[in-house]
C-alpha cells in the first residue's frame, strides 16, 4: 500500500513543523540557555499540585461530566466575572477542554468548513492556521506590523473581510510578539464587526500576564459577548501546562456545537487536572500575582538587554515573550538563531516560525530564571558586538 496516498490531502497540505531541527541540534550541545520554551518555568504552585494528589488519593480516577465538573465550571464563571467582568452561565456557556489548544480546534471546527474564510493575524501561535486548514476552510493571513506594535488595526482588518469571512482569530496577549490590545484598540475592532456575522475566536490564554494594567476581553465590550468565543486556560496563568486544561466560553449554541465534537472526540478533560484547577481558581490569586511580578522584572531585563545589544525592541506588554528586530545583525532570522546557538549557546526562535512576516525578528521568552536571563543577555550582547552593522 502506498501509505502517502492514503493520507488526507488536507493534512498533507500542512508542512511539518520547522522547529524539529533545533531539537536535534540542542540535544548534542551543553550549557545551552534556551529562551525558546513557550511555557512557564515555574512549577505549578504547591497547593494546586497538592489538590491533584489528594484527588488521586480519594480515588477520583473516573470520567467527569463531558463538559467538565459543574463545580469547576462554576468557578470558571466566577473567575471570568471577577477578572474580566463578563457573565457566562456554568450551565451551558462554558466547556472545559484539554488545554486552550483543544478549545481553539473545537471553535474552528464548530464554525468553519469548506468555502469559509478564517482571518488569522500573524505573527501568532502556530496552531491557528493548521487547525483552520484541517476544517477545510481557507486561512486568510493578516500581516501585523512592528510600527503598530503588532496590534490588529481596523484598517488592516477591513481590507481582509469578505462575504466568506466566518471567523476572526484574535490572539492577544500575543505569542510570539508580547503585544496586547487595550480597550481603545478593541473598541475599534468591535465597531468594524458590529453589523457583520463574524465570530471572534479570542485566545486569551495569556490574560493574566499583562504588565500595563489589566487585560480587557473583547467579549466585555457592548454587543460582543454574543459573537465571541473566549478561550482561556490554566497553562500559562497557573503554570499548569502539563495538566492539559483549558476552557471556552460563549453563546450556548456555539458552546453546544463544540460540546458535540468534544463529547465524541475527547469524552472529558483529565479528572485530576479538573480537581486541581478548582483549587487554582479558589486559592491561586496570590501565587499568580507573585509570578506576574517576577515575569515583569525579567521582561524589563530582557528588553533592556536586547536594546543595549543594538536591536530594536518594542515594549511587549503581555505574555512572556520579547520579539526584537534583529536586522541590525545583517542576518535573517534563521541564520541569526543558528549562529547564536552555535556561537553563544543561546536558543531563540526565528520569527518566521510564527508566520512569514516574522522575518527579521526572533522570539525570546523570559519564562526562565533571572540568572539565566542575565547570562543570556550577556552572551547576546557579545554576539551583537561581533556582528552588528551599526552602533553598539
Amino acid at each position: 500500500m502506498n501509505m502517502a496516498a492514503m493520507i488526507s490531502p488536507l493534512v498533507k497540505s500542512v508542512p511539518p513543523s520547522g522547529i524539529r531541527k533545533y531539537f536535534d541540534l540542542i540535544n548534542e550541545m551543553e550549557n545551552v540557555i534556551s529562551l525558546g520554551v513557550g511555557e512557564p518555568d515555574f512549577v505549578t504552585p504547591w497547593n494546586i499540585r497538592e489538590s491533584g494528589i489528594y484527588s488521586l488519593e480519594k480515588g477520583h480516577t473516573h470520567y467527569t461530566p463531558n463538559s467538565g465538573y459543574f463545580e469547576l465550571r462554576k468557578e470558571i464563571s466566577n473567575y471570568i466575572h471577577r477578572r474580566f467582568g463578563i457573565e457566562y452561565s456554568p450551565e451551558n456557556e462554558i466547556l472545559v477542554t484539554v488545554g486552550g489548544s483543544e478549545a481553539i480546534d473545537l471553535a474552528l471546527r464548530a464554525i468553519a468548513g469548506r468555502g469559509d474564510e478564517v482571518i488569522i493575524p500573524e505573527p501568532s501561535f502556530v496552531a491557528y492556521k493548521p487547525c483552520a486548514i484541517f476544517t477545510g476552510a481557507t486561512p486568510v493571513i493578516i500581516e501585523l506590523r512592528a510600527e503598530d506594535q503588532f496590534r490588529l488595526t481596523p484598517g488592516l482588518l477591513e481590507k481582509f473581510i469578505t462575504p466568506n469571512t466566518k471567523a476572526l482569530v484574535l490572539p492577544y496577549p500575543n505569542n510570539p510578539t508580547g503585544a496586547i490590545m487595550k480597550k481603545e484598540d478593541l473598541l475599534k475592532i468591535a465597531e468594524i464587526l458590529k453589523n457583520k456575522d463574524i465570530i471572534v475566536i479570542s485566545d486569551e490564554i495569556y490574560a493574566e500576564l499583562t504588565y500595563d494594567g489589566e487585560h480587557v476581553s473583547i467579549a466585555s465590550l457592548p454587543g460582543m459577548k454574543e459573537k465571541t468565543v473566549l478561550i482561556n486556560g490554566f497553562s500559562k496563568a497557573f503554570a499548569m501546562t502539563g495538566w492539559r486544561l483549558g476552557y471556552a466560553c460563549g453563546h450556548p449554541e456555539l458552546i453546544g456545537a463544540m460540546f458535540k465534537i468534544h463529547q465524541y472526540a475527547i469524552m472529558c478533560s483529565p479528572t485530576m487536572a479538573q480537581r486541581a484547577a478548582i483549587e487554582a481558581l479558589q486559592n491561586g490569586d496570590n501565587e499568580v500575582k507573585a509570578m506576574v511580578r517576577e515575569y515583569n522584572r525579567r521582561r524589563r531585563v530582557m528588553v533592556d538587554g536586547f536594546r543595549k545589544a543594538g536591536y530594536d525592541c518594542f515594549e511587549p506588554l503581555g505574555a512572556f515573550y520579547v520579539f526584537p528586530d534583529i536586522r541590525n545583525s545583517g542576518m535573517n532570522s534563521e541564520d541569526f538563531c543558528e549562529k547564536l546557538l552555535f556561537e553563544e549557546r543561546v536558543l531563540v526562535v526565528p520569527g518566521t516560525a510564527f508566520g512569514q512576516c516574522g522575518e527579521g525578528f526572533v522570539r525570546a521568552t523570559y519564562a526562565n530564571s533571572m540568572e539565566n536571563i542575565i547570562e543570556a543577555v550577556k552572551r547576546i550582547q557579545r554576539f551583537a558586538a561581533k556582528y552588528n552593522r551599526t552602533g553598539f
Binding site: 533545533y22 525558546g36 520554551v37 524589563r300 531585563v301 533592556d304 526562535v349 516560525a353 533571572m370
Partner: protein, 171 residues
C-alpha cells in the same frame, strides 16, 4: 529616623525587598532595570532600608551538612517569668546575646521563648542549657530538642536543585 510600618509600604520598596530577600547579590544597576527606576533611586531606597534596619544584613544560606564540619543544632523551648516593667524583652536579651544562639522568638502558647542554638557537639549544647540558660533567674524550665536534618532553611530547600525538565523548544 523613626519608622512606622506605613512608611515603606509602597510597591517600589516592597519589590526591592522581595528581590533582595531572594537573592541579595543583584547589583543596584540590575535592580534598577528590573524595576524600571534609576540607579540613584534604587541606591537611595536601599540605603534608607539599611539605615532603618529593615534590611538588617546580607548573608549566604549555607547547607553546612554538606561540609566536613561538626555542628549540632537544638531548638529549646523556654518558660520564663516575665520581669516587672520589662516583660520578656530583658530575659530574651540575656539569652540571645550568646553567640551560639542563632535565633530567638517570643511565642504564644505553652512556652514563652524558642531558642535555636548551634554548637559543635551535643555536650556543648548540654553545657549551654545547664550552665548558661537554666541558671538565668527568670527561666522557669527548658525543654531541648535536637535537629536531625534540615530540609528547608530561610525559604531555601536543601535538596538537589530541580533540573529544568522542559522541552528545549515549545512554540
Amino acid at each position: 529616623m523613626d519608622t512606622k510600618n506605613g512608611d515603606f509600604n509602597d510597591d517600589f520598596t516592597q519589590e526591592i525587598l522581595e528581590i533582595l530577600e531572594n537573592n541579595s547579590k543583584y547589583t543596584e544597576e540590575q535592580i534598577a532595570i528590573m524595576l524600571n527606576r534609576s540607579v540613584d533611586e534604587v541606591r537611595a531606597a536601599i540605603k534608607t532600608l539599611e539605615e532603618n534596619n529593615i534590611i538588617a544584613g546580607y548573608k549566604a544560606v549555607i547547607n553546612w551538612e554538606k561540609m566536613p564540619r561538626e555542628a549540632v543544632t537544638a531548638l529549646i523551648e523556654v518558660k520564663v517569668t516575665p520581669q516587672r516593667g520589662r516583660g520578656f524583652d530583658k530575659v530574651a536579651e540575656r539569652i540571645y546575646r550568646y553567640p551560639e544562639v542563632k535565633a530567638c522568638y517570643l511565642m504564644s502558647g505553652g512556652f514563652d521563648l524558642t531558642v535555636i542554638v548551634e554548637c559543635k557537639t551535643l555536650k556543648e549544647v548540654a553545657f549551654f542549657v545547664a550552665e548558661k540558660l537554666a541558671p538565668i533567674e527568670s527561666v522557669v524550665s527548658t525543654s531541648t530538642h535536637f535537629v536531625l536534618k534540615i530540609y528547608k532553611e530561610n525559604g531555601t530547600v536543601f535538596e538537589k536543585k530541580e533540573e529544568d525538565s522542559r522541552e528545549a523548544v515549545v512554540l
